[in-house]
């Protein structure tokens, strides 16, 4: 019951966020209508990092405990992360078209997110190339950790060295947020509710994996 209420509450909050992003929040100076994509693009990028982080944590857990379920959890977290990185790229590309004039112009940010996608595509390629389950699990876990270790170089270092047109990310060097209170309200609610949607998705996937494993156990 509480579960159901929570879900319906999430539905209402995210609906409010969408309405707020389109009607309530004021527009930023010089950007016009394109400000609105901010309330969707930044949460996607944030969830991408969270999802890949969770995937890396499960990979470490797998290497420590060697339990098959952790490998499946890591895979599912990375799949969700991949979904959100695609969404972040698409929303970011729309924004780039509107404010920089082209969908793709190899800005350092665009380059880094593209490489991020390549890395995780390679992770899935590796998974499909190994047949034995336990071997696949440990190889994929090792690759996942290496991939996650190199991600900061793309996300934080490369855009620092090369001048980027991308607005400062959420965690900028000055620690300031350049937004009016109304915008902040919509922005942080959006961040929170999208994260909750992601958590819900992840929990659902993990439940499914547990069911599958139990079914396998019963069959034997």
């Amino acid at each position: 019951m509480v579960n159901k209420l929570l879900k319906i509450g999430l539905f209402l909050i995210l609906s409010l966020v969408i309405i707020g992003a389109f009607i309530y929040a004021p527009l930023a100076k010089g950007l016009g209508e394109f400000t609105r994509v901010l309330y969707f693009h930044v949460p996607m990028a944030w969830i991408t990092v969270v999802a890949f982080f969770i995937g890396a944590v499960y990979s470490i857990l797998y290497l420590k405990k060697k339990e098959h379920k952790y490998d499946l959890y890591a895979e599912t977290a990375n799949q969700l992360g991949f979904l959100f990185v695609v969404l972040a790229t698409v929303t970011g590309s729309i924004w780039a078209k509107m404010s920089w004039g082209s969908f793709w112009n190899w800005d350092p940010r665009e380059t880094s997110i593209f490489i991020l996608m390549l890395v995780y595509a390679a992770y899935f390629a590796l998974r499909s190339a190994v047949e034995q389950a336990d071997r696949r699990a440990s190889l994929a876990a090792v690759y996942d950790i290496i991939a996650f270790v190199t991600v900061p170089f793309f996300v934080f270092i490369v855009p620092r060295i090369y001048a980027s047109l991308h607005p400062d990310p959420l965690i900028n060097t000055q620690g300031k947020i350049h937004m009016s209170p109304k915008m902040q309200l919509v922005f942080f609610t959006s961040l929170f509710s999208y994260t909750m949607v992601f958590v819900w998705m992840l929990i659902m996937r993990i439940k499914m994996i547990k069911l599958k494993l139990k079914l396998k156990e019963m069959e034997q």
């Binding site: 490489i115 390549l118 390679a122 590796l126 290496i146 170089f153 490369v158």
Partner: protein
């Protein structure tokens, strides 16, 4: 007493890593498989590029990008050999008995670094001569190649260990290594561009730092994670 033991352990690791390196070097000189693969790949691409572009047409931007692309893909063609050979000749199990994983990884890493240095020593001067590539800051280029080689060899060695255990060895190596090693490629190209301009247009120190940091991170991650792959 304890520190003495530790020192002895470290010495032991170093000696064993050196022995494995020496063994690989001897084996390599018997067949020269990896050296030939990398060197010929680099040579063929170098001449293809030189033939297609001509001598005086390319700007230093393009030349520095091409230099790193040639080095990168040439190293991709040979770096994986070091672990694939052990698996294919079924000598991996014997190696497991005589040495610890860290020693094996270090030995193979040193071998790959030396291999890349040998190739660079031949290919880079040749490239500079053939492509008419003017380098104003030779030390800067040397530093970029040095740190870049550590990064390339570190990433290449650990990915080679991964793919040696998988079923599709040839095609997978580049797919797995390329995205991970792209920071090396991007910063390496940028530093080389810098070295080819008379007046430095950006501060090369931060770029060299990031190359160095990348090499340290990837080699550390490789040493820590190699156990899990090797014992699989």
């Amino acid at each position: 007493m304890e520190s003495l033991n530790q020192k002895q352990g470290l010495l032991q690791t170093g000696t064993n890593a050196y022995l494995i390196f020496k063994k690989d070097l001897l084996q390599e000189f018997k067949t020269r498989y990896a050296l030939n693969a990398i060197f010929l790949f680099a040579l063929v691409t170098l001449f293809a590029v030189s033939f297609a572009i001509g001598t005086f047409n390319a700007s230093s931007d393009i030349l520095s990008a091409l230099l790193w692309i040639i080095l990168f893909f040439a190293s991709m063609s040979g770096l994986s050999h070091i672990f694939v050979r052990e698996e294919e000749a079924h000598t991996a199990d014997t190696l497991k008995l005589v040495a610890k994983p860290t020693e094996i990884f270090l030995g193979k890493l040193i071998f790959n670094i030396v291999l890349l240095f040998m190739v660079e020593l031949l290919v880079v001067p040749l490239y500079v001569a053939i492509m008419n590539f003017t380098i104003y800051h030779i030390l800067l280029l040397a530093a970029a190649l040095l740190f870049g080689t550590f990064g390339l060899a570190g990433g290449g060695t650990i990915v080679a260990a991964i793919i040696a255990k998988s079923n599709a060895r040839g095609a997978l190596f580049t797919v797995l290594a390329f995205p991970i090693l792209l920071p090396v490629l991007v910063t390496g190209i940028s530093v080389t561009k810098n070295a080819a301009t008379e007046k430095l247009f950006s501060n090369p120190v931060s770029e060299l730092q990031s190359l160095f940091a990348f090499a340290i991170v990837i080699i550390t991650a490789g040493i820590l994670l190699f156990d899990f792959i090797w014992n699989e």
